[in-house]
């Protein structure tokens, strides 16, 4: 199996991504005779071998999809040995380091090889990644994974502490990436590793103090266009929202209105309504806006032929919205980029 080149059918020893639903995926390695337990029941590996990637596979209590392992899907599902870089940051790093086929990249530390997989994908077939990891087992695990994913030709894993001993590379790299607690210890050696014709460098650090020291080191060593950025992703949940129109009169209390089960507030209770905000309405939204049986009237208001943002009836204003609820990632790390120009 190769993360490098798409192929159509699942083979033994492939790593595949099982897609069960939103936020529910697993990476598994295909082995004849193996069984993987899912919430839908047992999944026999033998049943998957030979199927086309993208196929639906049935389990006793449901079905799932077999997806091809792109570096992005791998990043979302790989076994963590360390904190990893996620696709948002990986994208910016790849872009800012000008990665493309033929590029030679130096990286430390390898960690869980999340970024490494992505780099290799971007620089193959004629580029190369030299990745350094000071933890012996992690270095070995990374090397195994690259082998499993048929990427060994494009990468060299070295077990080494580059902060103490340097990269021992000279005039080879188009780009260097550092994800180290003490990056300034490795920056001089990184500079040496870069090609004489110049190149790009990136240092990823969670803490601003580290960034300050790294920037001072870059400036000291003659790097230019030193720039620190931060990139965060915000996801949207697309839903149909119904905002009920408030009633500015009181209903006859002798007439009782049938309440829809699990729906919103009692219209008679103006106090309850006054606590409602648009957000609360969204929480108990009804998916299809045509579902307004409990209202006294669902006739469309005297609105223009084109409802400006959504659809209005006497009872509701309905529209599709992209909502960001709850929490979002607020910080991963600061990305500092710089250029080394030729003398």
């Amino acid at each position: 199996m190769s993360l490098a080149k798409y192929h159509d059918k699942v083979k033994e020893n492939d790593t595949v991504i099982l897609y069960l639903g939103y936020d529910n995926m697993h990476a598994i390695k295909i082995k004849k005779g193996s069984v993987f337990q899912t919430r839908y029941g047992a999944l026999r590996h033998n049943d998957i071998i030979g199927t086309t990637y993208g196929s639906r596979v049935h389990c006793p209590k449901g079905y799932l999809y077999i997806l091809y392992p792109t570096p992005e899907l791998w990043t979302s599902n790989l076994p963590h040995r360390t904190q990893i870089l996620y696709t948002t940051d990986i994208s910016v790093v790849s872009f800012q380091l000008d990665l493309k086929p033929g590029a030679v990249v130096v990286e430390s530390g390898t960690g869980s090889a999340s970024l490494s997989h992505s780099i290799i994908r971007s620089i193959l077939p004629d580029g190369h990644l030299y990745t350094f990891e000071f933890h012996k087992e992690r270095a070995q695990k990374a090397e195994e994974e690259f082998k499993d994913h048929s990427l060994s030709d494009y990468v060299t894993v070295t077990h080494k502490d580059v902060c103490q001993f340097g990269f021992d590379l000279e005039d080879v790299a188009d780009a260097v990436f550092l994800d180290l607690p003490v990056p300034w210890d490795a920056i001089p050696s990184a500079k040496k590793a870069l090609k004489k014709q110049g190149g790009r460098i990136c240092s990823f650090s969670p803490c601003i103090e580290q960034v300050q020291k790294s920037c001072a080191c870059f400036a000291e060593l003659g790097f230019e266009e030193i720039s620190t950025k931060e990139c965060l992703v915000r996801n949207f949940d697309v839903r149909t929202i119904n905002l009920p129109n408030p009633e500015f009169f009181s209903r006859d209390k002798t007439k009782s209105q049938p309440q829809k089960k699990g729906s919103r507030f009692d219209r008679d209770d103006m106090d309850a309504y006054s606590e409602e905000t648009a957000e609360n309405s969204a929480q108990c939204d009804i998916v299809e806006s045509s579902d307004t049986k409990e209202n006294t009237t669902s006739e469309v208001l005297d609105t223009p032929a084109w409802d400006y943002i959504g659809r209005k009836t006497a009872a509701n204003f309905s529209f599709k919205a992209g909502i960001s609820l709850g929490r979002m990632p607020g910080h991963t790390g600061y990305l500092t980029f710089a250029t080394l120009y030729p003398l």
């Binding site: 993208g54 872009f95 992209g322 250029t339």
Partner: protein, 453 residues
Amino acid sequence: MATSSEPMCVDERKTSNVTIKEGDQAILKKGKTVRIFQIRKKRDIWLDKIKFSLDGAVGHYYGSTFVVKNGQMHKVQKTFKEAEVLGPEKGTDNRDLHDLDSNQKLSREDIEKMKKEGAKGQEIIEQLIENSTTFKGKTEYAQEKWVKKKKQKHVAEFTVLKPNTRLMCQMYHEKSPAKILNIRMDTLAQILTYGNVHAFTNVAVVDTCSGLVVGAVLERLGGYGKVFHFHPGERPARPIVDNLNFPQEFLDNLYNFPFCEINSLKSEEGKSDDLIDNSHGDSVPSEGDSLSDTAVKQCTDSNTETNTGGESTESQDKDNTDPVARKRKAEMSTREANKILYSKRLSEAKELLLKRNIDCLIIASKFNPTPLVTTLIEYVAPSRPIVVYSQYKEAVMDAYAYLREIGCLVNYRVSETWLREYQILPMRTHPEIQMSAGGGYLLTATTIVKEQK
């Protein structure tokens, strides 16, 4: 014509990238001013109110710095750092400082005189410092900031850079973001990564952003794999692809596909089985190649020679003696040749698309994305990413809603990214005062095998 699967060897690629050559597109960067020019000898250009020729740049490494002297470029070492001109004297705060023009004793004429006499940037700055009544009273930080500002104003140094996607995106985003539909660099970065754009993939791109996305995709493909550029009108407008100066091998893999041909592509689906049987994998049949080459050669040859074979008319002799008629005939021949080539490329593109093995579909256009994505998704292989970009969340949500109805995708995500830059200086670290208000929205998803109903 070289086959598309063989890009030039790695060594050639490396050396050709590194030095400035005549005919190259080059970026000239002076501080924040970034402009792109084509290097043509003995032709003057204007940059920051200075006129000069680009001859002096040829032969040097990209990334070299130059100054202009007497209309010519001269390579220099990088300029001094701010810290080198600062003396030991400094103030603590600005309570006694007044912002007056009379603070600086040197006049504009004095400075111009120094420049004409060939004074180096560092000397000018040192003179400005000496003639400033307030400089020594400024804090160390204020002094640094002041020197940086003077440097930008008076030191005419600039760097010559090789255009790449990052620089082109930055340039357009700063100057004419509307031309690239406000795609910010982090958004473009996500598009390329989530689309898994890399060597050996076939990518279909709907691009009305001056070719920024097509160019970025071509860069990531590195000559391996094909790009299908869907565009409105007859010819695609993609100046950024030209600026990126790709080798011909890359461009041979780029197919144009006008919107107006999409319906004919759909109607050819019935005949698609025949086409697949006749095709020879991804490469162009060689007989077809030489046919069109010969046709082009014949037509262009007729520009210079008398007509041979092919086009014999009764008035042939008369045409050959009349220069105006000959020119008109030559132009018509070239047009004919181009037409043949154009329709040949289009049939090739159709044949390839009908194989339904597109590895990535990217939509980044001013048009409503929904009809584009619901139509073009037919040609994408299963378990492949699609990426839809729009400046408007509503458009992305609409595409999402329609695709969900069709049911041909999983792993949906509607998102935007937020980008913030920082000023990192000792005791002066903070986010930049201004930041981008928005970089557009993305829908990403993965195709699946469409269940036969």
